[in-house]
């Protein structure tokens, strides 16, 4: 049984510390929608998404009302679209439009899965599909795209990495009137996971059930407040406090995930333990690190503090949920975290430090704006660096970087809402086109041979 102070603690977490369920994401298999033509496939896709996810918004709102915890986003992820359009990849944009229309009909904010998995090699239909991504992201509102370019088991597909450098540039260019927001809806992954509920990188893996509910919890504000109560604690104690707090947050997520799956006639998939910040004051991962004693996020000690935070969140969360998955760690998106935005404005966080931070947390270089004239090969090299970190360390890494058209260091991009705003960060000027131009694969590391 719970006590009065437990009740008041939960209410305080919601009222003052931004405790929320960040997303209920319904994963849907589209494999049964494949037909002879793109037109017919697109129709089937629209119908399936609209019927299976019909009640997602209503159910989320009921659950939110009953438990008194906000459920911020309602989303859908689908089978990588490149698979269901393999016979007519040049017409994949028809399916994209059907998905975007379905998302609008359902009233959800994002739908993920305009994706391709090319971690070993790029099949002909995959290449054609990937080339449609920039136009699709410019002509749709709610659709998100992702490409898996490497894995610990297969190495890194450097042809795909080179292509992605160009795709990011073009996605930003085609949405130049909106600060290049097209690129903010695109993720390049290494070791992509098949049950991630968070956008922009969510897709529904082929190994999943046909209808699944995955839930992403949040709560950086709650963790920060808990740490504020023990300002002089040593780091062992601080880690314990983070664990205990993550446990409570995750239990709320687990309850909502189970109940949502039941009501939506779906399988309960996973709870993703990620600490996901928003641009709101008091909902920042960066500020947790600063509370731990890092003077300013990006300074020395940041990587160590983040490693501890990430690990403690996982330990608390794993205990709290029967099924954990997705990305599960702390997110460090620059434009979506007020502490990160401030550090970037003061020049105290750099791309190099962010890259180091991605070695110890999920997920990668996330929501970082860079000068619009950054060469595609430089962006490709950033993707290669991140993919290498993921490949060698057996973790998921990602790049969601925005080469902001006609903007440079000193300027800022502003996407509004959850995507936030970000000052343009400088990139290294050295020409890496020879490396990227070589193509081929970076072979899988020796420790991938485990059989």
């Amino acid at each position: 049984m719970f006590t009065n102070s437990d009740v008041l603690e939960t209410i305080r977490m919601v009222e003052k510390e931004h405790l929320d369920i960040r997303t209920i994401t319904m994963g849907l298999s589209l494999l049964t929608c494949i037909r002879d033509s793109a037109e017919e496939t697109a129709r089937k896709v629209y119908d399936l998404v609209c019927s299976k996810a019909e009640n997602i918004v209503k159910t989320a709102e009921s659950l939110s009302g009953e438990y008194g915890i906000p459920i911020v986003n309602k989303r859908v992820s689908v089978t990588p679209v490149s698979l269901i359009t393999a016979a007519f990849p040049e017409k994949a944009p028809l399916v994209a439009k059907a998905l975007d229309d379905a998302a609008e009909t359902l009233g959800i904010d994002f739908l993920g899965g305009y994706s391709a998995l090319v971690h070993k090699a790029t099949a002909g239909y995959e290449k054609t599909f990937i080339e449609t991504i920039p136009e699709v992201l410019a002509s749709t509102k709610r659709l998100c795209a992702s490409v898996n370019v490497g894995s610990s088991k297969t190495g890194i597909n450097m042809e795909a990495v080179r292509l992605l450098g160009e795709i990011f540039k073009r996605a930003a260019y085609l949405t130049k009137d909106a600060d290049g927001i097209g690129a903010a809806k695109l993720v390049a992954f290494c070791n992509a996971v098949e049950d991630n509920p968070f956008m922009a990188g969510a897709f529904h893996g082929v190994g999943e059930a046909d209808v699944v509910v995955n839930v992403g919890v949040s709560g950086p504000g709650v963790v920060k407040k808990a740490l504020e109560k023990i300002p002089d604690a040593d780091l062992t104690e601080a880690a314990e406090m983070i664990k205990r707090t993550a446990f409570k947050i995750t239990r709320a997520g687990q309850l909502v995930a189970r109940e949502a799956a039941k009501r939506l006639n779906a399988q309960f998939g996973i709870v993703d333990l990620s600490l996901a910040p928003t641009p709101a004051v008091g909902d920042s991962v960066a500020q947790i690190l600063e509370e731990l004693g890092v003077g300013r996020v990006g300074g020395h000690g940041t990587t160590a503090a983040l490693a501890m935070l990430n690990d403690a969140v996982k330990k608390g969360g794993v205990m709290a949920s029967s099924r954990v998955g997705g990305l599960s760690g702390a997110f460090i998106p620059v434009s979506e975290d007020i502490g990160m935005i401030e550090a970037a404005q003061k020049g105290e966080i750099t791309l190099d430090k962010l890259e180091a931070m991605t070695c110890v947390c999920s997920v990668g270089l996330d929501m970082i704006a860079i000068p619009g004239d950054t060469p595609a090969t430089t962006i490709a090299a950033m993707i290669a660096d991140e993919a290498a970190i993921g490949m060698i360390n057996n973790k998921t890494t990602a790049v969601r970087i925005i080469p902001a058209p006609n903007k440079t260091v000193g300027d800022e991009v502003n996407f509004g809402g959850l995507l936030g705003r970000a000052p343009i960060l400088p990139v290294h000027g050295a020409d890496c086109s020879r490396l990227i131009g070589r193509g081929g694969n970076i072979p899988a590391p020796i420790h991938s041979f485990k059989n």
Binding site: T10, E66, K248, L255
Partner: protein, 89 residues
């Protein structure tokens, strides 16, 4: 099915009567009441049986929040499972 009703605010006069009759009219029966004082604020926590309510739980929660606004208090009604989940192993 049980729900936890939490009322917080400064003025406690007549609040129990108001909230309990409000809930009673909607089919919810209060089974337990306790109070906690936090400085000049007080928090009243009620356990209500909501098996017989005449509307969806989320709708009742919304009405409670609105009642709170009318009488200058903060009122939450939440399914007890959220507290069981978060505070019990």
């Amino acid at each position: 099915m049980k729900a936890v009703v939490t009322v917080t605010g400064k003025d406690r006069q007549g609040i129990i009567a108001k909230v309990s009759s409000f809930l009673w009219e909607r089919g919810a029966n209060i089974e337990d009441i306790s109070q906690t004082v936090l400085g000049e604020y007080f928090a009243m926590i009620m356990i209500a049986n909501v098996s017989q309510i005449k509307m969806e739980l989320a709708a009742l929660a919304k009405e409670c929040a609105e009642l709170g606004k009318q009488i200058g208090m903060s009122i939450y009604l939440q399914h007890e499972d959220i507290f069981n989940a978060m505070h019990n192993i």
